[in-house]
């Protein structure tokens, strides 16, 4: 491939990616006739529903992250340490949520955990929130698991554990004091991806009827002219921030390792 062709492909690609973002931002600034303004943003921020749904999603995201860490870190650690032969199987299972569409899974939840079932999660608000959090955790499982598993690969789990055990440390101590700090970067990366996924998620929240940010976005899109674009811009900035933070923590540890 010649250099000129490479530049051409790259520039065309960049144009494709920049134009929608430009259109989105331009629209979000066009609420006032004839000049650019932040009116749409002001309107959005003043909307109590925005604040409610946004904080609902933030809280859900944080809960999902905590649950995801509690589920994935011990599992990935255990598989590496005790059941290495099972690793391909577990890895395959964690990739399944990418293959089975979310709408199918949540449909299953609704039918399986309805009020007349053996585990009537959708009967209460708390139960539905819990169910939604499990759903979010399932959606982010592929990313969380891969991040943590890659993080564990860089440290010698077995040796570290043996060393700790010979010093009389219990399992909890081993995981909290030893494994976690070592996979902290991986866990952070997985957490940021999870955050971005939960903040933008629509299908599960909408079908479980929870007041999350995603359904609110869709509702605004159907009813307002400029606000949706301000919201989309905010959503984009959140995504960007999450990915930027991943870069930052990764780079941070790279330097850390080089310094050793």
């Amino acid at each position: 491939m010649t250099r000129a062709a490479s530049w051409a492909i790259l520039l065309l690609g960049i144009t494709y990616f920049v134009l929608p973002l430009l259109g989105m931002v331009e629209f979000s600034l066009s609420m006032r006739r004839g000049e650019y303004s932040f009116d749409a943003y002001a309107a959005v921020l003043a909307d109590p529903q925005f604040r409610q749904t946004f904080s609902y999603s933030v809280v859900m995201a944080l809960l999902t992250i905590v649950f995801g860490i509690l589920l994935v870190v011990p599992t990935a650690f255990w598989v590496r340490l005790k059941l290495p032969r099972l690793r391909p199987v577990v890895e395959f299972v964690t990739l399944l949520p990418l293959v089975i569409p979310a709408i199918v899974t949540v449909f299953g939840y609704i039918r399986l955990y309805n009020t007349s079932s053996w585990l009537p999660l959708t009967g209460t608000i708390f139960g539905t929130n819990l169910l939604l959090m499990f759903g979010y955790a399932m959606l982010s499982l592929p990313y969380m698991y891969r991040a943590v598993d890659t993080g564990l690969r860089t440290i010698d789990v077995a040796t570290l554990t043996e060393a700790a055990q010979s010093l009389g440390a219990g399992w909890v101590t081993i995981i909290v004091k030893l494994i976690l700090p070592n996979v902290l970067v991986a866990v952070l990366s997985g957490s940021f991806v999870t955050f971005a996924i939960v903040m933008g998620e629509f299908t599960m929240a909408a079908l479980l009827n929870r007041p999350a940010f995603g359904p609110y976005l869709q509702l605004m899109g159907a009813n307002k002219a400029y606000e949706p674009f301000a919201l989309a811009t905010i959503a984009f900035i959140i995504t960007w921030a999450c990915m930027g933070l991943i870069q930052l923590v990764t780079r941070f540890t790279k330097h850390d390792k080089a310094g050793r």
Partner: protein, 293 residues
């Protein structure tokens, strides 16, 4: 592992204790992935009273449902094929095209962002750009007198949705294929060249076969990604385009098909399609990787 000090009765307990460590994960997968999916699969073959039937599956074979599957598959194939192709070209330009190294890190970060920027906001971004009043639509009309709508382009269409989906499909391909392109050794290219091969021959006989499993896997992933995408489609088209996820969404919300178990069948169809795509991928991959351990 060979704990010689522990007494025999205790040792008998070891295997089950080891498996116990996997219990939370297994329980989570069972409750929130396997059982819900099973519920759908079984429900697809049940009447309301619970008796076994093929009626629901047969019910899928109506013109409107079949066409929704057909257009969903078309959009998914098109957006993953173009996504793979364009993503591949961009990654190849970046890795092999002699472009400055400095481009790489920002492009990879952006790919991470864009591949996660799906759903409702993405639909808004494209509405603002290619919608009836969008940036590009207006620009073309006022500056060049080109009327996209008159030319038959509509964002609420097969092509509109495909172009929109490419916004997350291309970056996903870039993210996956770049490490694979890095894995192509410079010596392979040089050896081929010394032996008289043209650039095209090198790609056809050596590079593409080596990359084939990765490309194929990415294609299967992108396909599932597009086939299951609900939010973008709903936010973009409302319910004006009959694709499977939108129909299923409406069915779950309000039983628009008038038969709750037809919803099971539709969902089962979705699992079948993405599952089949992945089986094809796995089979092709095994066949194409004889040269790997």
């Amino acid at each position: 592992m060979t704990d010689l000090t522990s007494p025999p009765p205790k040792r008998r307990w070891h295997p089950s204790l080891t498996w116990l460590g996997l219990l939370p994960f297994a329980l989570f997968i069972l409750l929130f992935l396997v059982l819900p999916t099973m519920k759908i699969v079984i429900g697809a073959f049940q009447r309301a009273d619970g008796s076994f039937t093929f009626e629901n599956i047969a019910g899928l074979f109506t013109a409107s449902i079949l066409s929704s599957y057909w257009i969903s598959i078309k959009i998914s194939v098109a957006s993953s094929a173009f996504g793979c192709l364009i993503g591949f070209l961009m990654a190849a330009a970046m890795v092999l095209g002699g472009l400055p190294r400095g481009i790489r890190s920002p492009l990879m970060t952006f790919s991470g962002v864009a591949s996660n920027f799906a759903g409702v906001p993405l639909a808004f971004a494209f509405l603002a750009t290619l919608g009836p009043l969008g940036l590009v639509t207006m620009f073309l009309r006022t500056e060049f007198g080109i009327n996209l709508r008159a030319m038959g382009f509509n964002i609420l269409s097969f092509w509109g949705l495909t172009i929109t989906y490419l916004f997350f499909q291309i970056p996903l391909m870039i993210l996956i294929i770049t490490p694979a392109l890095d894995g192509l050794k410079r010596e392979w290219r040089e050896a081929a060249s010394c032996l008289g091969a043209s650039g095209a021959q090198y790609w056809r006989i050596v590079a593409l076969p080596i990359l084939f499993p990765t490309i194929l896997g990415t294609f299967a992933l992108l396909f599932a990604n597009a086939f299951g995408a609900v939010a973008t489609a709903i936010a973009l088209t409302g319910s004006s385009l009959n694709i499977v996820p939108i129909m299923l969404f409406a069915q779950i919300r309000g039983d628009v098909l008038g038969n709750p178990h037809l919803g099971y069948a539709m969902a089962f169809g979705m699992i079948l399609v993405t599952g089949l795509a992945n089986v094809v991928y796995i089979v092709l991959r095994i066949r194409s990787e004889r040269w790997l351990k």
